[in-house]
């Protein structure tokens, strides 16, 4: 018990573990581990042959955290800001530091708006979104959907029923919003 000075239980001896487990103790010395010490000043170790990297072109319009002095010399260019979601995200970056909840909550809002915008845009493209193929749900067939889930003590079964609501939410909300706007317009027109 921890109420006296000695450790209250005994683990197997090092000799026993070394015999049983391949490699046991290969990194036993805490000073001889790859990330020890955590900070080790050695600017030549990385392979970098610059003091400050060349600047990647195209940073003039690139959004950045206001906790950065400038746009970093290298940055990703996968999906530039666009649409209403882009305006929300730009506001988050321009006004609020990473220490402010508003920064992250606006980015999360931007994500939801982006999904709705993109779904809507897809319907006027040659490749509309298809929730059946894009959720991968077709993989259920042939991958043991019943035996993988039941009789397994899985704690996630208590909430997986919510997942279809998350996926279907925008699809259900979209027509309802359109119907609501149409009804409002008709009432205003009738008045």
């Amino acid at each position: 018990m921890p109420y006296t000075a000695e450790k209250p239980y005994q683990n197997p001896s090092s000799e026993e573990l070394r015999a049983r487990i391949p490699g046991w103790g290969a990194d036993l010395d805490p000073r001889d581990r790859p990330s020890v010490p955590r900070e080790k000043y050695d600017p030549g170790a990385s392979g970098a042959h610059w003091d400050f990297p060349d600047r990647q072109p195209g940073d003039e319009t690139r959004e950045h955290s206001i906790e950065h002095k400038f746009v970093t010399p290298v940055f990703g260019t996968s999906v530039p800001l666009k649409g209403f979601s882009g305006a929300i995200r730009r506001l988050a970056y321009a006004k609020f530091s990473e220490g402010r909840a508003a920064h992250w909550l606006l980015l999360i809002l931007g994500d939801r708006v982006d999904a709705w915008e993109s779904h809507a845009r897809s319907f006027v493209s040659t490749r509309p979104d298809n929730p059946i193929t894009e959720t991968g749900i077709l993989a259920e067939a042939g991958h043991h959907p019943v035996s993988s889930r039941f009789g397994q003590n899985r704690s996630d079964l208590s909430h997986v029923w919510m997942d279809p609501l998350i996926v279907a939410g925008p699809w259900l909300a979209g027509p309802l919003v359109v119907l609501g706007i149409r009804t409002l317009l008709r009432r205003r027109h009738a008045a």
């Binding site: 197997p12 805490p30 955290s65 290298v74 939801r112 991968g136 998350i166």
Partner: protein, 382 residues
């Protein structure tokens, strides 16, 4: 080229995209030969990471062949078979100069709190990832390494994140000879952390999860004792009893943002996005470790607040250590361990999925179908 593309929460598909171009003198373009889906990709897939834009290609675990290099690249050439750490980093900033490659300050304009990660949202820099046929690799002289001839592709791809991250997590635990180590989470990172704990001299390793098939893997791959937390009213109390009411010396959280075990916490965080992540595993870690012990956090959490029991952490005098793994610092030692037969990362691979079926791959991994532990993506299977 073909690439996986995010279409909103729980939806991905394969699209034709332009082959990436050299955008910086030290860029390389790599033709991807093998990629993986990481457990943390599921956080993106489920819409948990802020600023995950529709159209992004995920994938931070990949290997490939150099197709083109920028004019300042000195260490790589066309045709080299390379493994690419999940960290994008410059090698020269304040943090990189001190070996904190995962905390680079020169590659992520969107946030200062995290470095750059391939295919991991604009919060991590806005780089497309490797679940595609080609990928842009910045700072080619710094991040990638030529894969040794003796190394299998499947071992190499797991060395780009999951294996070094687990190994790093055991180091963060500052394990001493004979320590009792508890690992929450029996996914690939947790399994590697458990296995690595023995390398550092642990006296006992216990893995906790709710998926029996993964706990079976923890017993066979990582030689660990296991608990399925669903079989206990209170897993923390069980762990206390199991250590004669002392608590474990070291606890490793290898679960992160979508932890299960408390419905309210899970729904608030993972479904309603009201927290940066579900802190169930982290709170269990704080409770299950002994006073004065160490909690190592490998689980990925979002940047907003989570309801963490910090008062207990303070009152127990805990050391909490956390970081994204600086992958390349781990490689030389991990190469030795693989050559010596102490580690065989590819033993965790359960599924090999052609890129064109990646939506099914995400669903299988997310829904934990078919005994899935680690799915690989084959970009050129057709």
């Amino acid at each position: 080229m073909q690439a996986m593309v995010y279409r909103g929460p729980y939806k991905v598909r394969v699209e034709e995209k332009d082959i990436p171009k050299i955008e910086h003198p030290n860029d390389a373009i790599v033709r991807v030969t093998l990629a993986a889906i990481c457990g943390s990709d599921l956080h993106l897939f489920h819409g948990l990471m802020p600023d995950t834009r529709v159209g992004t290609t995920f994938g931070h675990e990949f290997i490939g062949v150099v197709e083109e290099v920028g004019p300042s690249v000195q260490n790589l050439k066309k045709g080299d078979r390379v493994m690419v750490p999940f960290n994008v980093y410059c090698g020269s900033c304040y943090f990189c100069a001190r070996g904190l490659y995962s905390n680079c300050h020169n590659v992520n304009p969107n946030a200062t709190a995290i470095g750059g990660i391939y295919g991991y949202s604009h919060t991590c820099g806005g780089y497309d990832g490797g679940q595609s046929q080609f990928v842009r690799v910045p700072f080619a002289d710094v991040g990638p390494s030529v894969i040794p001839d003796w190394m299998d592709d499947e071992d190499a791809v797991l060395l780009t994140d999951a294996c070094p991250t687990g190994y790093f997590g055991a180091q963060l635990g500052d394990i001493s000879e004979g320590d009792t180590v508890v690992v929450f989470g029996a996914g690939p990172v947790g399994l590697f952390a458990a296995k690595s704990s023995w390398l550092m001299g642990a006296g006992r390793v216990v893995v906790v999860d709710h998926l029996d098939y993964r706990l079976e893997k923890a017993r066979t791959f990582a030689h660990a004792e296991t608990y399925n937390f669903t079989e206990y009213d209170d897993i923390v109390l069980q762990l206390k009893k199991d250590t004669e009411y002392l608590g474990a010396d070291v606890v490793i959280d290898a679960v992160g943002a979508e932890a299960d075990g408390n419905l309210l916490q899970h729904v608030a965080a993972a479904k309603l996005k009201l927290q940066g992540g579900s802190p169930i595993a982290l709170n269990w870690a704080i409770d299950a470790v002994r006073k004065g012990g160490t909690v190592s956090v490998l689980g990925a959490y979002g940047p907003i607040f989570s309801a963490v029991k910090f008062g207990d952490a303070m009152n127990k005098g805990l050391t909490i250590r956390a970081n994204q793994c600086p992958v390349k610092r781990q490689w030389p030692r991990l190469f030795e361990h693989i050559r010596n037969g102490y580690l065989k990362p590819s033993e965790l691979v359960t599924h090999r999925i052609p890129l064109e079926h990646i939506a099914e791959g995400y669903h299988i991994f997310s829904a934990k179908l078919d005994g899935c532990i680690k799915p690989l993506i084959l970009p050129n299977a057709a």
